[in-house]
Structure formats: C-alpha cells, structure tokens
C-alpha cells in the first residue's frame, strides 16, 4: 500500500517539476535565435512569395550572464528592401517571467541594407530578456527555396559571437510568371495614374483584377460544377413532381403541391442553412460540395416541376386524345408524344431557371462552400479592394449573357412555329386564347365543345 502511495506521489512530483520546466525554460548561456518567421504577403495564399514585400520577424533571447551590445543579421543573397522598409524593435523584459514587459523604446542605432541589419544598443540588452526584431518591406529573392537567417552579436565584454542558426528555415515560393507580371504591371505609369483615382483603384484596379483571375477562375469552375451536377439532377426530379402534380390521386397531388409550394415559398438561403445544418445529422460523410449541389437540385426541381406542368398542360388536349385513340397508354403518350413537344416549349424557361440557379450558387458561400463568391470575398478582404467582386461579376456574366441570348433565339423560333402548329379550327373559327405563362406564350385549348357545328 505505502509503496503504491509513494509511487503515485513521486510521479505527481515529476509531472509538476516537468511542467514547471516547460513553463520556465532554462535560459541559455548565450543569445539564441528563438524563431525566424515571415508573414504571408498581403495579397493571398498562405505562402511567402519571393520578390514581394513581407515582414521578416526575428526573435531571440539574451543569455543569462551577458549583455548584448550589437546584433548583426545577415540576409540571404538576393534579398531586397522596399522603398518604405523600416525596422521595428522591441525588448521584452523578463524580470518576472510570468509577466513579460514589452519595451518599445530601446535606445539603439541601426543600419539596414540589402545584405544585413546592424543594430547597436546604446545601453545593451539585459541578460535573460527577449528581443524582437521586425523588418517591414523585406523581400526574399523570387526563387523557391528554404532560407536560413544567420548573424553575429557582440556582448558587453566586446566579444563577438556567432548567432546559433535557427533550425527552421523560411520557405519561400519563387515569384510565378503571374507574380512577376503583376509586379511589372503595378509599375506601369498608366496603372499608377489609373489607380490614383480612388474609384478606379477600388473597383477596377488592374493589378488586383489580374491577381484575382486565377483563384476566381477556380471558384468559377466550382460554381459551374455545382449547377452542372445540380441542374441535371433537378430535371428528372422536377418531371416526376410535375407528374405527381397532375396525378389522379388527390394525396399525390396534395403532397407534391406541398413540396412545390414550400420550396418556392421560402428563400433558398434559408433552405441552404437548413440543409447544411440538418443533413449532416442524418447522412454522414457528405461534403459541402455534395450537400450544396443537392440543395440546389431540390430547390430547382420545384421550379422545374411547375415549368414542366405548365408546358405539358399547354399541349393541346387533342394530342392526348389522338395518342389514346391509337391505343397508347398514359406513359407512352407522355414519353413519345407529349414530352417531346413540351421540351421545345419549355427550353426558354428552363434556361432562365438554369441562369437563376447558377447565380444562386453564390449563396453557398455563406455556409463555406468554396465557390466563386467565397474566393471573391477572400480576395477582396486580403487586398482591401472591391475589384475581385467586379471580376467575379464578369465571370458570372460569362455564363449568363450567352444563355440569355439562347433564350431569345429560342423564343423567336417558338413564336415563328407556334402559329403554324395551332389547330386549324382555331385559326378559322375561334381565335386562340393566348396567355403568358412564364416566358412563353401558350395556346390554351379552346372550350370543351370545340366542334362548332354549322348545322
């Protein structure tokens, strides 16, 4: 018993000691590099891109029995400084390790060049303190590589020491052709002149526009993929619902009309939230993209159902009767006689439904689907510029404008052939009653007793 107790206590003691050691790491004998990092460039990605300004941070800790009078940091070959490069220096006083006190007013002189940074401390950095050195406007070479920062320091006895090399390098991605182009572009006089206008700069900044194109194109492809999968899925579902809407059984009509009216009567935005919060509870392993296009498909199916229903009901009832009188059953009549005629009539409305759905993919940004709107938002945020949204608008139009054109061509064709197709007795006796359903004209079958006798 006592043996066990002793074992437990000693274990606890070791743990306590260990955690104290972690909390108060023993100070080293000499100034040591604690970290070297660079922040990502301002315009995107998590990578540090060479040839573009970044912020280089160096942190170190003064040894216990020394004061540091001078620090020299050598930059790798090929580094550059922006015109507005500057130094930020901070000594963190560690007298009470639990409450480090930052001091931004360290007396010092410095010399910053492309090769090195030399800082002379008037009073020296005191033993055990931390020092943070940040160079703003620092540019790594535009060559993909791991860069190590080296240096030396001089202590209060006038002895020079080599700074121990920090084991983790800074990984830099070399400037891509695009990056280089952007740099080139940003230096053009006309670009500078253009951007000097606040409006042009905010909305139509050429550099920001070009910079956002690759990511937005990726997002555009995802948006297109969302409709390209969602819409074809919505078609058979919508057709099925439209059949139910015309069913002889009231219960099927009732249920399908609930489906259609609820979906059409509530915002897609809300449906997206419900689906993204709800579906994962029941179906595991559904990624955002899949959930996204399924919600779009279900939403669109309700609208398509009504488009199909209107289309089918716009077919003259004589067509159903002719097919029936030839012994065709309901399904054969639908598939070989009615639907082929309906397709032509509903293509314009279906196309505008497609356009709506494509634009609605943007709503999925709110629930974390990485489609174009999401990328536009990110791009805009990191560059504090509206241009990426304007570019995104262009990408949406790339799809919607040609389709709008398709619609008007089809509508013209329909208008041209519809007259020819109208049953002749309508032409001669009764004027066909036309009304607008959606985007297209339909000829509504004349009254029940269409055989106007002349007896």
């Amino acid at each position: 018993m006592t043996y066990v107790r002793v074992a437990v206590f000693s274990l606890l003691f070791v743990l306590l000691l260990g955690s104290l050691l972690i909390a108060f790491p023993q100070s080293a004998e000499a100034l040591e590099t604690e970290s070297v990092t660079a922040t990502r460039n301002e315009d995107g990605g998590t990578d540090i891109i060479g040839g573009k300004p970044t912020r280089l941070s160096w942190e170190g800790r003064v040894g216990n029995n020394e004061k540091v009078m001078q620090i020299v940091i050598n930059f790798p070959e090929g580094c550059e400084l922006a015109d507005d490069a500057y130094l930020f220096l901070q000594e963190v006083i560690m007298d009470d390790p639990m409450h480090p006190r930052p001091d931004n007013a360290v007396k010092h002189e410095y010399e910053l060049t492309q090769e090195s940074l030399i800082i002379n401390f008037t009073d020296g950095l005191r033993p055990g303190n931390k020092v943070i050195i940040q160079v703003y406007g620092f540019q790594f070479p535009a060559i993909t590589a791991d860069y190590y920062i080296t240096g030396t320091y001089v202590d209060d006895k006038g002895l020079s020491h080599i700074l121990k090399e920090y084991s983790r390098p800074v990984s830099v991605i070399g400037g891509t052709a695009l990056e280089n182009f952007l740099v080139w572009l940003s230096e053009r006089d006309w670009v500078k002149a253009w951007n000097s206008n606040a409006f042009c700069n905010s909305f139509l900044n050429p550099v920001r526009a070009v910079a956002s194109v690759p990511t937005l194109f990726g997002g555009w492809l995802i948006s297109v993929a969302l409709v390209a999968l969602g819409f074809p899925l919505a078609i058979p579902v919508g057709l099925g619902i439209s059949f139910l809407r015309m069913s002889k059984l009231w219960i099927l009509r009732f249920l399908s009309s609930i489906y259609v009216n609820v979906i059409r009567g509530t915002p897609l935005f809300l449906q997206i939230y419900i689906a993204f919060l709800g579906l994962p509870l029941f179906i595991s392993g559904m990624d955002n993209f899949t959930t996204g296009f399924i919600v779009l498909a279900l939403n669109s199916s309700a609208y398509l159902a009504e488009i199909f229903r209107a289309g089918i009901q716009s077919i003259h009832k004589g067509q159903f009767e002719a097919a029936s009188s030839l012994g065709m059953n309901g399904i054969k009549t639908m598939f070989f006689v009615i639907i082929p005629q309906t397709v032509r009539r509903v293509i314009p409305t279906m196309t505008s439904e497609f356009i709506l759905l494509f634009k609605d993919t943007s709503l999925l940004a709110a629930v974390g689907v990485f489609e174009m709107m999401m990328f536009a938002k990110i791009q805009s945020n990191i560059s504090a510029n509206i241009t990426p949204y304007v570019v995104a608008a262009g990408f949406y139009l790339l799809v919607t404008l040609p389709l709008t054109r398709v619609i008007s061509v089809f509508e013209k064709k329909l208008a041209a052939t519809d007259g020819k197709e109208a049953p002749p007795e309508d032409k001669k006796k009764k004027k066909p009653e036309t009304k607008r359903v959606g985007l297209f004209k339909t000829t509504v079958p004349a009254a029940v007793n269409q055989d106007t006798g002349n007896g």
Binding site: G318, L326, M328, K332, Q341, E425, K428, D451, G453, N454
Partner: protein, 248 residues
C-alpha cells in the same frame, strides 16, 4: 359493298352520358354491322361527338352498355387500350403529332402499341400514305402540309393500326372547301373497301351517296334512322324535317 353484314361490330344499349348534371346522351340504342357505313346527323350540341367518343371510351359512359365485337367495353375490367387498338378515330382538328414527320406519325403507334418492327411499320406507313395520295409527302412535318393533307395523314395513321371500325368526327369541318373533297374521296374509297364506319358529318352529299344508314340525333336521342333515301327524301319526324330544311 358485297361484304356480309351479318356480324355486329359495335352494339350500343341504353347509353346515357352526363357532363355534371347535363344529360347529353339520353338512352342511345344502336348496332353497327360489319362493313356498314353509318352517318350520324344532327344539330350542334345534339351529342354526336359525345356518342362517337363514348365508342372508343374517350368519354366514359355514365350508364348503359357498349359492346365491341364480343367484348363489353363499358365493363370497368375491360382493357381500354386494347379496345382502342382496333377502333380508329379521325378528329376534326387532325391532331397529328407536330414533332413527327408524316411517316413517323404513322409509325409511332404501330411500333409502341402493336410492337411491329421498324421495317414493317415503315413499309405500312408508306403504303398507307400512298393510299391517301401522299406518297410525295412522306418526310413532311405536319406544319408543312395543308389541312386536307394533314387530315389524310391522320386517316392513314388510324388505318395503319388495322382497325375494325373507323370513327370520323367532322373530319372535313375544319377544312377550306377546296380541300374537303380530297378527304371525302379517301373516306368514300374506304367505305367501298368494306370498312365499318361511323361518320359524323355535315356533308349531306357524302351521306346520301356513301351511307348505308343515316341516323338523325337531336338532344341526346336518336330521333330517326333509315337508308339515305328514307331519311333525306321522306323524313318522318318534324325535327328531322326542320333540320334538313335548314341545311338544304
């Protein structure tokens, strides 16, 4: 007209049809023999179309019996589509399928209902189009044909199904006068060939010439029937006299 007339093809017994509370057919009794051409006359709204449409069940009879050959087709258990395979119908408004060429209009039901091979259906389609004088319009769409041509395609389409009886509901009423004749010629030809026909028409000349029997309907009942000579030249009922008086 040497075909034997001993067999009844369509037999209608005490047929009533209501549309809501409106009684449109008020007890019709009518037998149509094999090879017989029955022309149904009557004023507008008298129920002629409804009667024809009841025969192939486009309208559901409210009461009474309709026999087609040996089948009681008003029996809910009888197969409607099977019955319709053997009853051809020609509509006033043609009702060709506008998305299909003349040939394909005629092939569709042959293929999908009678399950004929593509080759056979095509052969029959062309043959039927020749019969109605449209061998040069095989690949035309309905919109490219005149009304009279469309109606002849519609007749060919019905005939391709090898019907045992043909129903014509004012097949020429929608046509311009100069086109009526072509269609009537086809119908006359058909009658001479022994087809059993029920024809609703306002073409009195055709009725007089082609009909084996003329049935005069008014307000949902058969008022009078007989040979064309009997009905046209010596109508018994005042209503028939009145109707024929207005026509001629």
């Amino acid at each position: 007209m040497t075909v034997s007339k001993d067999k009844v093809v369509v037999s209608i017994r005490d047929l009533h049809k209501y549309f809501g509370s409106l009684e449109v057919l008020k007890g019709i009794d009518l037998d149509v023999m094999r090879g017989e051409v029955v022309v149904i006359l009557g004023p507008s709204g008298s129920g002629k179309s409804t009667l024809l449409r009841c025969v192939n069940l486009l309208e559901k009879p409210t009461k009474g019996e309709i026999w087609f050959e040996d089948n009681l087709i008003t029996d809910p258990k009888s197969n409607v589509n099977k019955t319709r395979e053997h009853i051809g119908m020609v509509f006033q408004s043609f009702n060709l399928f506008p998305h299909l060429t003349a040939k394909r209009n005629i092939m569709l039901a042959q293929r999908k209902v009678l399950k004929r091979s593509k080759e056979e259906a095509e052969r029959i389609a062309i043959q039927q189009l020749e019969k109605v004088g449209l061998s040069d319009k095989i690949e035309y769409l309905p919109a490219q044909l005149s009304g009279g041509q469309q109606q002849r395609v519609a007749i060919a389409r019905a005939l391709a199904m090898d019907p045992h009886v043909m129903l014509f509901d004012e097949a020429t009423s929608a046509l311009d006068p100069e086109l009526v004749r072509g269609v009537l010629d086809v119908m006359r030809e058909l009658a001479l060939g022994g087809m059993t026909m029920m024809v609703v028409t306002h073409e009195m000349g055709f009725a007089r010439e082609v009909a084996d029997r003329v049935v005069f309907m008014d307000e949902g009942v058969i008022v009078e029937q007989g040979t064309p000579a009997e009905v046209f030249d010596n109508p018994q009922s005042p209503r028939t006299q009145d109707f024929l008086g207005h026509i001629t």
